[in-house]
Structures are given as C-alpha cells and as structure tokens.
C-alpha cells in the first residue's frame, strides 16, 4: 500500500461534513499558514515539493505561482473544476466525498498568492455537486476560515463557485477565464499568460482541483516530505480514474512510480481485465494522450517495466510512449475496436472545437468524417494516410492545445494498430460489428 495524502480519511463516516473533517486534522493548514507563515514561505514549500499540476499538463505548481505579477494588488486564484477530459473523473470524487479538502486548499493557496477573491469554476453538469461544495464553503465561513479577518490575522478571502455551461474547451485555462467573464469559451492567445493578465486583466493562477487539494498537506508536512514520496521526477501521489474493460473501475490514489502491471492487475486497484479477457490497449492519461498497445503499456520498447509516473509513461516519446496526462486510465480489452474508438474521439474533438482556428475546426471534422467511413466499411485506400496527414497539419498550428489533443490519438492509433485500420478498409466484411466492444479480430490467415 502506498502513501495516502488526498484520500487518507476518505473512509471516515461523515468526512464530507465540517466536524469530522476538522476532527481529522482539517483546517490545521489554514491555521499554520495564515498565523505562522508568509506567503512566500508557502510558495517555497510548494516549489520544494516539486508538485506538478494535476490537470494534465504537469507544469510545476510552485513555479507557476512564482510567476504571478505581485505589482498588482488585485490577484485571483481560479480552480479548474471543469473536468471533461474523457476518462477523467477524479476531481468530481474529491468534491463529492471530501469537499473541505478543496476548500482548505483554496484558502492556503489564495493566501500564498495574495488573492482576496477566488473562484471555483465547475462544469455545469455537476450541478448536483453544487449544494455539497457550497455547504462546505458555508461551513468554512461560519468557522472563521473564510471571509473578513480570517482567524484574526487581517487576511480576507471570499470564495465563490461558478457554473459552466457545458463545453470541454472551458477546461483550457484561458477559455475558462473567458467563460468566467461571461463570454464564449474561446481560448486566448498566449502570451500574455494568466499570471500576468488573467481574470479581468489581473494576475491570476489557474490550478486543477487535485493540485489545490494537495496544498494543505504540503503546508502541514513541508515540501521536502512530499518530495520524498513517489519518484524523483514525479513526486507525491496521484489520483487515477480507471475505467473501460477492467474489473474494478474507480478512483485510486497511488504513489507515483507504482508498476503499471500492479496497478492494472492487482486486486487493490483495477483488478485485471473484466470477463477474463486479454488486454489489448490502454489510453493512460485521458483521451488526449497517445494510445499504447498492451505490450507497450506494461513495458517500454527497451523492455523495462513501466510504472505510473510522468517520465516512465512518456518513455519512448510519441513513437512508443504516451503520457500520464490527467490520470484518466482507459483500458481496452481484446474485443474493443480501435477504429471505432478513434472515430468516437474524433467526433468528440470536432464537437468540442471552439472553431477559432481553421486547422482545428476543419481538421477535426475531416478526421471524424474519414473515420466514420472507415469504421462503416466505406473507407478508401488512401484514407489511412490521409488521416495521418490531417493530424500532422493540425498539430502545432493552433491557438490552444485542443488541436494537438485531437491529433495525437490519431497518429498513435494508426502507428500501433495500422493492421486493424487496413482490415476495416480492405476487408470490411471480415470485421463487421455494431458496437465499440464487439470487435472480433479475424484469424490472420483469412486476412
């Protein structure tokens, strides 16, 4: 069993409420931070922890905080609770079961950044979570941890929950800020970065729910203690939301560096492939990261066992590796159709493109169309190369990373499963199927 930081108290009955949370050491970090530490000391602890942002990009949180423009007295902290990356459902878990952890994290992080107003931007579909989170916030106010003159120190902080309207792109931090300003979620051109010009033109830090929820532990125990956990390049723990064809889908906190094989097959975590089937492939970090065939998931191309960390999952680059991303671990069994899944993802990105850049707006649509015809048995000889070509033309040519996120899965699926695409094009009668999970690979000699 690895260390637990976020979910240490998750099984305590009543942990969702203030009293039980407090009895289990809750809000001690706020007391310590506002009474005994300076904001810079907290930023330094977070830097020392080498915590990497848990929203997907993995950017070091302390470093991001140190970029905030302190010459402006009005600064904001905005929490990204838009959680819409297919395969990812971990932030929801924190808010649903231990909301005070996020509230406490918002308070210590806001104090570190010198923010007096903070927002939690939550996807609108989570409206059933609003009462849960709002109750936690109200309890924090009632106990003097939010509002004016927090714990008598003179520090003021107001914390609000903002609702989104249903748009994946609003998870991108500048689109999120646009949305929070009451506009369409069109990503902004960077620079300027939010740390210089963010919400209402003021310096702003945007962090993922999980990143913020870790900060109370770091304040209580010190960044150096955090850095001792996990691996050197991936310190600490990470929530992994595991789904797809496994026996035990769910949210798990793992110490980074856990062998992938153990995560996938041990009963403590995923419990192996459902229905006694074979592992075919895995998208280990949310729909935007490259897909890996089973062999390359468990071992790198060089034959080293892979572990759950930023560096190990990306070993081999895009040719033979993938990314830890958001921690959305999607497992495909032998009857999953890679082509149909890719078509599904392409249609997702096409639907979610904000439409500002033509390579993304048009390219995602073309990819969806081409994949639709391949999957439905009407593909043409040149279609597979056409897809690779479209993906190449999107990659790196767009305002925000959604374009790349749409392109990478295409390139990797074709690289690793070209045979399956060719079968769909050349012998559709051999691979006819109706659903994502009823694909039967024809015996090799018939193909």
């Amino acid at each position: 069993m690895g260390a637990k930081i976020l979910l240490e108290h998750i099984d305590k009955p009543g942990i969702r409420g203030y009293d039980v949370y407090r009895q289990n050491g809750g809000y001690r970090a706020v007391e310590k931070a506002v009474k005994t530490m300076t904001p810079d000391e907290i930023v330094n602890e977070v830097k020392t922890s080498v915590l990497r942002g848990r929203g997907g990009a993995g950017f070091p949180t302390g470093l991001k905080w140190s970029f905030i423009d302190k010459s402006n007295p009005t600064r904001y902290l905005v929490c990204n609770a838009d959680e819409s990356e297919p395969g990812t459902f971990k932030d929801r878990y924190i808010i649903q079961y231990i909301p005070h952890l996020l509230v406490e994290g918002m308070i210590v992080s806001s104090f570190a950044l010198g923010a007096n107003t903070a927002y939690i931007y939550m996807r609108g579909e989570f409206r059933w979570l609003f009462p849960i989170l709002q109750k936690a916030i109200d309890e924090a106010y009632a106990n003097g941890f939010l509002g004016k003159n927090i714990l008598g120190t003179g520090y003021n902080l107001d914390l609000y929950v903002q609702s989104g309207g249903g748009a994946y792109i609003c998870g991108e931090e500048t689109a999120l800020l646009e949305s929070l300003e009451g506009k369409r979620g069109n990503p902004r051109i960077k620079p300027p970065f939010p740390a210089i010009k963010g919400l209402y033109g003021c310096p702003t830090v945007v962090n993922n729910v999980e990143s913020i929820a870790v900060t109370p532990w770091i304040v209580n125990n010190g960044g150096a203690e955090y850095a001792k956990l996990g691996t050197e390049k991936s310190p600490g723990t990470k929530l992994i939301s595991a789904c797809g064809n496994i026996n035990k889908p769910g949210v798990y906190e793992i110490e980074l560096g856990l062998p992938v094989e153990e995560f996938l097959y041990s009963d403590e975590y995923c419990g192996g492939i459902a229905g006694g089937k074979q592992l075919k492939a895995c998208v280990p970090g949310g729909s935007s990261v490259p897909i890996l065939p089973g062999e390359l998931l468990l071992k790198t191309a060089a034959g080293t066992p892979r572990n759950m960390s930023y560096e190990s999952l990306s070993d081999g680059g895009f040719a033979t590796g993938s990314m830890l991303g958001s921690g959305g671990f999607i497992v495909f069994d032998e009857n999953a159709c890679i082509v149909r899944n890719l078509w599904n993802f392409a249609s997702f990105y096409h639907h979610e493109s904000c439409g500002q850049c033509s390579p993304c707006r048009e390219g995602t649509g073309w990819m969806e169309k081409v994949l639709h015809r391949i999957e439905h048995g009407h593909g043409n000889q040149g279609d597979i190369d056409l897809l690779v070509d479209i993906a190449k033309k999107i990659e790196g040519n767009t305002i925000c990373p959604l374009g790349d996120a749409a392109a990478w899965p295409v390139a990797s699926a074709i690289r690793h499963f070209r045979d399956e695409f060719e079968l769909h094009v050349k012998h559709p009668e051999l691979v006819r199927h109706h659903y994502m999970n009823d694909y039967v690979a024809p015996a090799l000699h018939t193909a």
Partner: protein, 180 residues
C-alpha cells in the same frame, strides 16, 4: 405568453450572484443566470427570455445569444418535461453505452434530439460527464444515473412517469432508493 419575470426568490438569487464579481463585471453572472432562467421558464431559452436576462445584466441581447448558443447545456428549442442526457463518449461505449442507447430509443420510440409524443422525455446525447468508471450513464435533471442496464432504464422511466413532478428533483440525489 405571460410576462417574463423571475419570481422574487429567484431574483434574490440573481442579485446575490451578481455580487460575487467586482463592480462593472456583472456580465460574469451570465452563465449562472441563464441556468436559472432555463429552469424557471420551461427548460429552454426563448428569445424574449434571453432579452430579459440581457436587460437584468445591462448588456446587449446579442451578448446573451452568443453565449447561449456556444454552450451545450442551454436549450434553444422547446424540450420535453425531462431531458435524458445520455453519454456517448468512448469510455462509456466500452462498457455498453451504445446498446443501452439503442434500447432507450426503441423503448421510447424516438431518436436522439427528439421528444416523445406525450412530451415527457427528450433524448439528447452528451459528451463525457466525468462518470466514465460508472458507465453507461445519463443525467436527468440533477441526478446522474450510472451503471445503466436495460432493467434499470425501465425502472427510471417508471419512476419519472409515476412520480409527482414537483417531487422528482426534491429527493436527495445520492439516496434515491435503488436507482443508483
């Protein structure tokens, strides 16, 4: 059509929301207020409703139309009493969502985007709802219905058909007996 005006208790909520933002930044309240408007005015945003929201926030109507048409949660056309928002994204399909979707369509006799003749249900497909480990799933109102099976779908439809509409969403979503 009766006059478009928020109930006093909703208006109080609207005013509280506007106070969350700095002076002059009241436009930030647009998305939350559109949700309230949709809830109060028959589950969709007719043009006069959007104009009303614009007037409350002192912004141009076009600013409201732009936003309402960008986000998928706002209905710009009338919908049934209950909107079934069914997740069609990959991870849910890996665990059988496509089959359940077929079942729902056959059972209700409608396709995606349509409303049943009795005006009860509108079927809408949506993208990943952050419930991938508990799929197939759909959202109806405030509740996520997860790990759907054909039998569960039957029970859910019966529940909506037989429950007093004023009570449907009042039950604690996390404990609706046997439905999750």
């Amino acid at each position: 059509m009766s006059e478009i005006k928020f109930k006093p208790e909703t208006m109080a909520q609207v005013e509280a929301i506007i106070k969350r933002y700095p002076e002059g930044r009241q436009k930030s309240a647009l998305l939350p207020i559109l949700h309230l408007a949709q809830e109060e005015f028959d589950n969709w945003l007719d043009v006069p409703v959007m104009d009303y929201v614009a007037s409350i926030l002192s912004i141009e109507p076009i600013e409201v139309y732009e936003v309402a048409s960008f986000y998928t949660m706002y209905n710009l056309k009338p919908v049934g009493k209950y909107v079934l928002e069914f997740c069609k994204t990959g991870p849910c399909c890996l665990v059988g969502a496509e089959k359940i979707q077929d079942y729902i369509q056959a059972k209700l006799g409608i396709k995606v985007g349509e409303t049943t003749a009795d005006g009860m249900f509108t079927l809408k497909t949506v993208e990943c709802m952050a419930a991938c480990g508990y799929g197939p799933m759909m959202q109806v109102g405030d509740h996520y219905y997860e790990r759907l099976t054909e039998e569960k779908v039957d029970r859910i439809f019966d529940y909506f058909r037989n429950t007093d509409p004023s009570k449907v969403y009042k039950t604690d979503p996390l404990t609706v007996a046997g439905l999750n």
